[in-house]
C-alpha cells in the first residue's frame, strides 16, 4: 500500500476542501470495507485519504411534515437493516441491507459506501482496468464473464454495479443529498466511458451526505437471487415499488448492468393491474426483455425473471420474504 496522508475533519466544508479535484488524488474513507482492500491492492493509490468518521451523518430521521425519511450517508448498513421505521415503510431497503449476510460488513459498511463502492469485476480487481481493455478489445467479452452485465453492456463497461441499495432507492423515488446539490437516485449512477470516470455522477471533491426517501406509501420489496446466505454478492436483484392498485409502479434490477437497471417495460405490466401470480410472472418476463448476455452469463436472464416475480409477490403480500 502506498503511504498516504490522513485527515478526519469535523465539518463537511473541511472535508470537501481536503479533497482533490481529480479522481485518484484523494479518496474518501467511510466504513473502509471496500477502500482499504483497494488501497492494499494498488487499485487506487491516493496521496491523501479523508475520513468522514467525525462528520456524524449516521442518523435515520423521520420528517412527518415533509413526508420523508432521511438516512445519513455514514449510517451503518446494519443500522439500516434493523431500523423499525425502515422495516415498516421500506422493506425493500431493509432486505437489501440485511442480505449483506456478514455481521462484520453490516457493522462497518455504510449506506454512502454502498452507493459509492467500486465494481467487483475480477478484471478490474486484478489490475486490468475498470473497462478491462487490452489492445482495443474487451477482456471481459473474450474471457470469464459469468458475473458480468446482461443489460447496458454495449459500451466498454461490462461490469455490474455492486450497490445493494441503489435499485431499491431508485424504485422508491429517493434523492441523494451531497455536499453541493441534490441528485435523484435515478440520476446518481452513471456508466463510465473511460478509465478516468467513475460509476456515479459525483465529482472527486463531492461527498454524498444523506439519502431522502419519500413516505409515499408504496408497497415495496427486494428479492436477491443468491448463491449463499453468508457474505457474497447476489447474481441478480430486483427491487419493486407500486401503489396498492398497481399504480406508480417501478421495477429496478441490480447486479445485471453497470448501473442499477430500470425495467420500465416490466413496470408497465404492473401499472393499474391487480397483482396476482400471473401478473407477477408476466412482469418478470417483461423485465428480461432486451437482455444481451455475454458468452457465460445467459443464466442471469432467467434469474432476473424469478427475482422480479418474487419481489412483486412479496411486495403485494402474496408470498413470504425469501
Amino acid at each position: 500500500m502506498k503511504a498516504f496522508e490522513y485527515a478526519a475533519p469535523s465539518t463537511i466544508e473541511s472535508a470537501v476542501s481536503l479533497l482533490g479535484d481529480q479522481w485518484g488524488e484523494t479518496e474518501i474513507l467511510a466504513g473502509g470495507t471496500d477502500l482499504i482492500t483497494s488501497l492494499k491492492q494498488g487499485i487506487t493509490a491516493p496521496d491523501r485519504v479523508v475520513s468522514l468518521k467525525h462528520l456524524g451523518l449516521n442518523d435515520i430521521t423521520v420528517d412527518e411534515d415533509k413526508g420523508t425519511v432521511t438516512i445519513g450517508a455514514m449510517t451503518p448498513m446494519g443500522a439500516l437493516a434493523s431500523d423499525n421505521t425502515i422495516a415498516r415503510h421500506f422493506p425493500a431497503l431493509a432486505k437489501a441491507a440485511s442480505n449483506l449476510g456478514s455481521p462484520q460488513m453490516l457493522s462497518t459498511g455504510t449506506v454512502g459506501g454502498d452507493l459509492c463502492q467500486r465494481p467487483r469485476c475480477w478484471y478490474y480487481r486484478n489490475g486490468m482496468g475498470l473497462l478491462a481493455q487490452k489492445d482495443g478489445k474487451s477482456l471481459v467479452e473474450a474471457g470469464d464473464n459469468r458475473y458480468h452485465a446482461i443489460f447496458g453492456n454495449g459500451g466498454k463497461a461490462k461490469f455490474v454495479s455492486a450497490s445493494s441499495l441503489g435499485p431499491a432507492l431508485i424504485a422508491l423515488g429517493a434523492t441523494i443529498a451531497t455536499s453541493s446539490r441534490r441528485i435523484p437516485a435515478s440520476e446518481f449512477f452513471a456508466t463510465p466511458k473511460s478509465e478516468s470516470e467513475r460509476e456515479t455522477v459525483l465529482k472527486p471533491n463531492e461527498i454524498a451526505t444523506a439519502i431522502e426517501v419519500p413516505l409515499s406509501g408504496l408497497k415495496n420489496a427486494t428479492y436477491e437471487v443468491r448463491h449463499r446466505r453468508g457474505l457474497d454478492w447476489p447474481y441478480a436483484t430486483a427491487s419493486v415499488a407500486f401503489q396498492a392498485n398497481g399504480g406508480k409502479a417501478q421495477v429496478v434490477l441490480g447486479h445485471v448492468a453497470p448501473t442499477p437497471w430500470v425495467a420500465s417495460q416490466a413496470a408497465a405490466v404492473l401499472n393499474g393491474a391487480a397483482v396476482s401470480s400471473e401478473i407477477a410472472a408476466k412482469c418478470g418476463a417483461a423485465a428480461s426483455q432486451g437482455a444481451a448476455p455475454l458468452s457465460k452469463n445467459g443464466y442471469k436472464t432467467k434469474m432476473v425473471e424469478t427475482a422480479v416475480k418474487r419481489a412483486v409477490l412479496i411486495a403485494a403480500g402474496l408470498q413470504a420474504e425469501g
Binding site: M1, E5, I36, D47, P103, G230
Partner: protein
C-alpha cells in the same frame, strides 16, 4: 504487499503529486493526537497527518496502547506486528474470510479492513480479550469440547463472531447464530462441530448469564 511497510517504502512514499495540497497546513510526523487536532480545527485549517508515523492511542482489551503508526497501517497489522496480539489471523486480508474478526464497541468487524487510526476512540476486543487457556469463555470452551476446528486458522475469528452473536441475542436459534457467522469461512468445513458448539455455548451462557 500488505504487511507493514519497510523503511525503504516509507522513504519512497510518493509525494510528487502534492502540489494541490499546498495551503492546507500539511503536517509532518508527530504532530500530536488526532483528538487534539479535532479540537483545534474550528480555529484553523483542518489537520492532515502523515504519511509518516504519528502517535495513535488504541484501547484494546481494556488497556490503552500508545504507538506510532503510519496512517496506512491496518488495525490487524497494528495488533499482530506492533502489539504482539497474534490471535487475530491474517488470511484473506481483504474482508471476506473473517479470520481477523475483532469486536469494535461490541460489534464484530474485520480488523484487516479498518485503519488502526480509525479505531482510535473505539473499544477493541480481540480473541485474547475473551478468555485465556485457563479461563476460557463459554464459546471457547464449547469449541474445545466439540472439537470444532481442524487446522484452527479460522477459529479465533469464528469464536469472536460467535461470542458477538450470542452476547447480542442469548436466545438465538441455531439458524440465527449461524447468521452471526455469515462473515466467516472455514475451509476445512468443520461447521458441524461449530454448530454443536454454538448450541452448547448458548445453553451455558444462559445458565451463567453471559459469555
Amino acid at each position: 504487499m500488505s504487511e507493514e511497510p519497510t523503511s525503504s517504502q516509507v522513504s519512497d512514499s510518493g509525494l510528487s503529486r502534492r502540489g494541490f495540497l499546498k495551503g492546507f497546513g500539511v503536517s509532518g510526523a508527530a504532530t500530536g493526537l488526532i483528538a487534539e487536532a479535532h479540537a483545534q480545527e474550528a480555529e484553523s485549517a483542518p489537520k492532515v497527518h502523515g504519511p509518516g508515523e504519528i502517535p495513535v492511542t488504541l484501547s484494546i482489551n481494556g488497556k490503552n496502547h500508545r504507538i506510532n503508526l503510519e496512517p496506512r497501517v491496518t488495525l490487524l497489522d497494528a495488533l499482530r506486528n506492533r502489539l504482539d496480539l497474534t490471535g487475530s489471523k491474517k488470511v484473506c486480508d481483504r474482508g471476506t474470510c473473517g479470520a481477523c474478526t475483532v469486536l469494535v464497541d461490541g460489534d464484530p468487524a474485520y480488523a484487516c479492513s479498518m485503519l488502526a487510526i480509525e479505531a482510535e476512540g473505539r473499544e477493541i476486543t480481540t480473541i485474547e480479550g475473551l478468555g485465556t487457556p485457563d479461563q476460557m469463555n463459554a464459546v471457547q470452551e464449547a469449541f474445545v469440547e466439540n472439537d470444532a476446528q481442524q487446522c484452527g486458522f479460522c477459529t479465533p475469528g469464528f469464536v469472536v463472531a460467535c461470542t458477538a452473536v450470542l452476547n447480542q441475542n442469548p436466545d438465538a436459534t441455531l439458524e440465527e447464530a449461524q447468521g452471526g457467522c455469515g462473515g466467516n469461512l472455514c475451509r476445512c468445513g468443520t461447521y458441524a462441530g461449530m454448530n454443536q458448539a454454538l448450541l452448547d455455548a448458548a445453553k451455558s451462557m444462559k445458565m451463567k448469564g453471559g459469555a
